[in-house]
Symmetry: C2
Subunit: 178 residues, 2 copies
Amino acid sequence: MATSEATATRIMLAVNQSTIKGYPHASISSRGAFEWTLQKIVRSNTSGFKLLFLHVQVPDEDGFDDMDSIFASPEDFKSMRHRDRARGLHLLECFVTKCHQIGVASEAWIKKGDPKEVICHEVKRVQPDLLVVGSRGLGPFQRVFVGTVSEFCVKHAECPVVTIKRNPDEAPQDPVDD
Amino acid sequence: MATSEATATRIMLAVNQSTIKGYPHASISSRGAFEWTLQKIVRSNTSGFKLLFLHVQVPDEDGFDDMDSIFASPEDFKSMRHRDRARGLHLLECFVTKCHQIGVASEAWIKKGDPKEVICHEVKRVQPDLLVVGSRGLGPFQRVFVGTVSEFCVKHAECPVVTIKRNPDEAPQDPVDD
């Protein structure tokens, strides 16, 4: 039963940005999923695991953010796309830096699209041993309106999936925020 | 982020017997869940984890097995119950022995009742860091008839849950068997 340490266990983490305005960091549930993975699974065995960070950017989402923006030239659109890209890279940099500090191998990349579809597609392509997704832990009524990526992944991803619910103490004023 | 190794990560595994007649061993999906946990999570870090084996015995199930049995005295019922208990203990002994051999701490116990309800109840009581359940990986049509413990646990257990689907190569002739 003893396993060769040659091939690390590859854990994919789907991470996203906080939805809280003016808070350009990882979402509370992404951070929770990451910390759970390190504390409960990786532990001191840093050479036994490789973390794969996938950040899916939703093209539409920015449309909402920019409801009050005025686009007067093609340059305005270009700078918006540039800003999105910079934010995504910053998000992934934080996770990869932390892994580097503690000596866990990692990889990170950005995709655009519907998060639940893209995550399942990337699982199929990358074939991780485990997918970890954070969840806001919303009740059934809230879920109807916001949809949940984690539920879809549990059903459709072609690898074992674990959902890490956000700690209730950490929920923001509006529990739909994250 | 470095975690103290003082408290091991406690992983609960819900295990059951094979449904295949004359095969008095762990079910294929239970063995798959156990081996996945050792190979992908515990790895060489045997002191970092403690495995908690829960076996839920279904009181009704034996009724089916004993359709052709004749109960002529109270002793017959007693010996049937004795046999069930012996089978359950044998199942848990196999898992605990394997853990002992590779140096992973473990605990095991038997409960009676509806597996999905009992598993969630025991999660609440024992508060493991992770619950691992095997699944036959049945399609939607098969699921309607057999119900699935894993789906219920993913929704209702008060801890992170990971479902390990049975390897398609290992499925018995009737995929509802396990």
